[in-house]
């Protein structure tokens, strides 16, 4: 996946969890959980959606890489 595809995937994953949230308004280094007011359940659902939509296994230990858009793009691009 290239960066644009990953960003589109993240936006899709978010749409079901926080329909009103706008990923475009979030800075690359910002913590998504803070910026979009995602609680523990929201973030876990976000990880589930990313895993399902990308077809990639995301180990629990790697989920901290997904806190920011920069980390998320780097992580998924490298897989």
């Amino acid at each position: 996946m290239n960066e644009a595809q990953i960003r589109a995937l993240a936006a899709q994953a978010l749409a079901d969890i926080a329909p009103e949230a706008d990923l475009a308004s979030v800075g690359d280094a910002e913590d998504l959980r803070e910026a979009l007011d995602l609680d523990s359940m929201d973030f876990l659902n976000f990880v589930i959606a990313l895993s399902q939509k990308s077809g990639l296994k995301i180990p629990e230990a790697d989920t901290a890489c997904l806190y920011t858009l920069r980390g998320l793009v780097a992580y998924l691009a490298g897989r």
Partner: protein
């Protein structure tokens, strides 16, 4: 015949509005069936009927009705069909014009009399308005449909066709009012007492990390699941806090239905029940939590979930404050709060170690219990969390 009435979906509810019937007159209903969608300040709630029989005489859509108002009649098996009562407010116009009918709530056609007398003026006016006069219930002589009946039906239809901004969601302003009413009543009537304890979450965290490392995201558990189960388990040991304060006395509940406080995006709070939480496994509780959060936000909570909680738990999650002292939701007698799990220096076997800990609090009704009992509950929650494999 038994009355199916507007349920009280919480201490703060006075009226509700049926916005959709999911059954037709003459349908068979069984206890637990969702039969109607009622709009309340908590959003649109799927209302269950706990009667067994054939439902009839459905109340009109869109009318603001008080708690306890008859919404329908249920004829139990073996009962003879009764003549519809002329005074029953169940006549709803069948709106013919598609534009006038809200898409989500098709108007209900009631079984009228087989032959209906309609005054000529009424028939003419009905035709002009696009209403079928023959399905209206008449108020005239011999039950004839009069011009007034047609006008009334038309105004009801007009009310129905007012577009709703969010069919299943909630109105933040109404939600605010509901919370204000319930919380003000709680603080006015309930003499709260408060206790807190800091609990070592190390064993629970280790168990959780181990579980999550070996499971797919969909099967992973949140710390909240363990906190919820520990609380439910503790209530089996301290049942004095599981129940209601009614008629100047504590009434213990027969089962443990934990009201789980869910913060709604856009503001507001609702605490629907997780039924029999003490008897569910951790994966079952996780699934129940996920489902409840989803339905609380999107709409589709069931009436029993709003009426059944026997104690509320509020858990702040990984981004919350370190501790929370709740306000009791009447007629419950206690609320348990879990703060964010934080790593703190902790004395463990004579040494100071970094350790994940969680602040567990209790706000309880002093009319129903004393601090000694409250302390027993916190101690029981602590014990349960030290042995996560048995949760």
């Amino acid at each position: 015949m038994a009355d199916f009435t507007m349920p009280s979906l919480g201490a703060d509810m006075e009226t509700g509005k049926v916005v959709e019937w999911l059954v037709k007159p003459g349908d068979r209903v069984k206890p637990g069936d969702v039969v109607a969608v009622v709009e309340t300040h908590k959003g649109a709630i799927d209302v269950e009927c706990f009667l067994d029989g054939v439902i009839d005489e459905l109340a009109p859509l869109g009318a603001e009705l008080p708690v306890g108002a008859v919404l329908a009649m249920v004829r139990r098996a073996g009962e003879a069909p009764a003549e519809p009562k002329a005074s029953h407010p169940a006549a709803v116009a069948k709106v013919v014009g598609a534009a006038a009918a809200p898409a989500a709530a098709p108007p209900v056609v009631l079984p009228g009399l087989t032959r209906v007398k309609v005054s000529p003026a009424a028939r003419q006016r009905a035709a002009a308005l696009g209403i079928e006069a023959d399905v209206l219930r008449g108020s005239g002589a011999d039950g004839a449909v009069t011009l007034a009946d047609v006008e009334q039906a038309a105004s009801r239809s007009a009310a129905l066709s007012t577009p709703r901004t969010a069919r299943r969601g909630f109105d933040p302003a109404l939600m605010r009012q509901a919370i204000a009413a319930a919380m003000a009543r709680s603080k006015r009537e309930i003499p709260h007492y408060y206790l807190s304890a800091t609990v070592d979450f190390g064993a629970a965290q280790a168990w959780l990390d181990d579980h999550n490392a070996t499971h797919e995201p969909l099967e992973r558990l949140l710390p909240a699941t363990l906190l919820l189960k520990a609380c439910a388990k503790a209530l089996t040991e301290v049942p004095q806090l599981n129940g209601f304060w009614r008629d100047d006395a504590f009434q213990p509940a027969a089962a443990i239905h934990i009201g789980w406080a869910i913060s709604l995006r856009g503001g507001g709070l609702v605490a629907p029940a997780i039924h029999d939480a003490d008897r569910k496994t951790l994966p079952e509780l996780m699934a129940a939590l996920r489902d409840l959060v989803q339905r609380a936000r999107a709409g589709g909570l069931r009436s029993s979930e709003l009426t059944d909680p026997t104690l509320t738990v509020t858990s702040l999650g990984e981004r919350g404050a370190e501790s929370v002292f709740g306000v009791i939701y009447p007629p419950q007698v206690a609320i348990v709060g879990f703060g964010r799990v934080v790593v703190r220096p902790w004395v463990c076997g004579g040494a100071v170690l970094p350790r994940p800990v969680v602040a567990v609090t209790l706000a309880a009704d002093h009319r129903a219990s004393d601090g000694h009992v409250g302390g027993q509950l916190l101690a029981a929650i602590d014990r349960a969390l030290q042995d996560p494999a048995t949760l």
